[in-house]
Each structure stands twice: as structure tokens, then as C-alpha cells.
Symmetry: C2
Subunit: 190 residues, 2 copies
């Protein structure tokens, strides 16, 4: 019965990414999803609630996908950090890639008090923490610093890709990351 709910979430996510959040009305969402506003408001209290859920789902899907790929294809902690950007590249170059949800959301809701902005900031923080654990496991000298630098590279590359598809930014971010990772591990060994 909640198949409609899933459909609404999926359609909303797609429209938000391709047309922007504020530019997408609920009428458009229900029309594309093949349902009505009554149904939408049965499952979601407000448009803001829908936005928040779309963000939550998007972030969960992304982090699940990434961590599963990492644990499958890279058993050793040192490998994981090296392979991180391979999966990021795979994710970004996928044909259905439409950008990083929380980056766009924070741009559309710049006010730091806004719930959508707050969630975006929280997701960005969680992602950095995820990277920090990766860096720590790999034995980086200063895991938090490296994690912040890697997150800057990733978010920057994705931003570049959002502005212009096919910019190849991730490829160069990957090279930069390799240098930074080596640098962080070398210094630790010395």
C-alpha cells in the first residue's frame, strides 16, 4: 500500500535534482507520480517534510552504497582509502547521476536556521566523519584533517560536475587525493 509513498519519494527526488527544489511544485510531483495531492498529504505533513525525507533517503542510499562497495572490494583498511575515489568516480559518472542532494539543498536554503539547511549540514558532517574513520583505520597521521581535505575534494568535484557535466573533475580530484593520502601516510611513517 505504501507503493505510492515510495513512488512519490522517488519522483520528488528526481524532480528536485533536475529542476531544483523551490522550482518544483507539489502539483507537478503528484502529476508525474500519477496520484493526487490528497494522497501526498496523507503520507507527508508538508512539502518541507517531503523534502527532508527525500534528503534522508538520498543520503542513506548513497552512504550504504559506498560503504558496501568499500567493504566488499577493499578488505584492508589501507586499501579502502585508496579505492574511495574509484567509487566516487563510478557514482558521479553514472548516467543517472544528478548531483549531491545536500549540496544543492543547502544552496537553495541558505538560512542556517532552516530545517532543510540544518539537515544538509548534518549530512555533510556525517560524511566527513565517515571519511575520518576511513582515514583513521588506514593509519593517517591526522585523520580529521585528511578527512576534511578529502571531503572538500569530493564536494568540490561534484560541484564542478553539477555545473558542467563531463568536466572530468573527479579524475583530477582523485589524483589530488592520492597525493594527499600518500603525504599523510608518509609523514606518519617517518
Amino acid at each position: 500500500m505504501s507503493v505510492l509513498r515510495e513512488k512519490i519519494l522517488h519522483v520528488a527526488s528526481d524532480l528536485f535534482q533536475t529542476r531544483g527544489i523551490n522550482s518544483t511544485g507539489v502539483d507537478t510531483i503528484v502529476a508525474v507520480a500519477g496520484t493526487t495531492k490528497m494522497t501526498l498529504y496523507k503520507y507527508f505533513r508538508s512539502k518541507e517534510d517531503l523534502i527532508l525525507e527525500v534528503l534522508q533517503k538520498g543520503h542513506a542510499d548513497f552512504t550504504d552504497w559506498l560503504s558496501q562497495n568499500l567493504s566488499k572490494n577493499a578488505r584492508k583498511p589501507s586499501e579502502r582509502l585508496q579505492k574511495l575515489f574509484d567509487f566516487i568516480e563510478e557514482w558521479v559518472t553514472a548516467p543517472d547521476f544528478r548531483g549531491m542532494a545536500f549540496l544543492k539543498a543547502s544552496a537553495e536554503f541558505p538560512n542556517e536556521e532552516n530545517p532543510v539547511h540544518r539537515l544538509s549540514a548534518e549530512q555533510s558532517r556525517q560524511f566527513r566523519q565517515f571519511l575520518a574513520e576511513l582515514a583513521a583505520d588506514a593509519g593517517a597521521r591526522d585523520p580529521d584533517s585528511l578527512a576534511l581535505q578529502l571531503s572538500i575534494l569530493i564536494e568540490g568535484a561534484i560541484q564542478a560536475e553539477q555545473i558542467k557535466r563531463g568536466s572530468g573533475a573527479v579524475k583530477y580530484a582523485k589524483k589530488a587525493a592520492k597525493i594527499l593520502i600518500e603525504n599523510s601516510l608518509e609523514k606518519q611513517a617517518a
Copy 2:
């Protein structure tokens, strides 16, 4: 006579940055600017035209400020690349910093055909080219690659700062940039 025009541009720029572009109506702009819609539409054909001019002015101001600071405080080409991030940090940590205009604009107008998005992409490209010339003058091995990497760092750090003020992202981006720059110059010397 065009003092009102300047005022409108300034107010619009401020409101776009703090509240978002799509969330800012022309009524709000004219109210804050202390004028009327008739006057606004005398100077600007449409809201989209106003947005485009705000972006143009913002980008011109930024690049002028940056290149002037660079040529004043760093005469040698090699110094300029090193000092680049000092000025970026100064710009970002300024109290009236509200983000990089074309990053937000491209997020609010994701459609690549949209004029606002196109201008954002063009400005991003120009900025990369500016960095490439800096890198070439400094004698980088592969100026275009280094420029793209630096732009990713800068835009990523600014993005991080937009999501959470005072994140200190630029500080770490600066460290990363130093490593990348050294790496690019070392390899060239070898």
C-alpha cells in the same frame, strides 16, 4: 541618476545570497532598496536580467579584488600561486562573506540550458582559466591540471563554508593546495 540602479543591484545581490534567488521576490527587493517596481523594470527588463547582472557584477568584483591583491602583494609569479589561498582565506573569513554567487546560482538553476546556469558555468570556466595562467606563470608541470585541482579545492572549501560558517575548511584546503603546488613544481624540476 543611476544611483537607484546601483542600489537595486546591491540589495538584490545581498538578498539573493542570504535568502536564495528563487525565494527572493522583486517586491522584497524594491522594498528594501526603497524604490518601486516601475523603477526596477525601467533599469532591468526582467528578474532574470537582474539575476544575470548581479552575477556579472559579483564575479567581476571578486576577480578584480583577487587579481589586484595578487599583483600588489606578490610580484613574482611563483609567489602568486603560493599566496593565492591567503587571499581566498581572507575573502572567505570576511564578516560580510555570503558564499560564491555562481555556485549557488547553478544549484538553484540546475538545467544546463538555463541562462543563469550557463553564465554560472562560464564564470566557473573563467576562474579556472585565471588559475591556469597563474599556474603556468609559476612554472607548473601541467598548469591546466593543477588549476582544475585548485579550483576544486577552492569551490569545495567555499561550499563547506556555505553549509557551515566557521568550518575552517579554507585553512585545510590551503594546506592541501600547498602540497599539490609543491608536487607540481617538484616534478617539473626533476
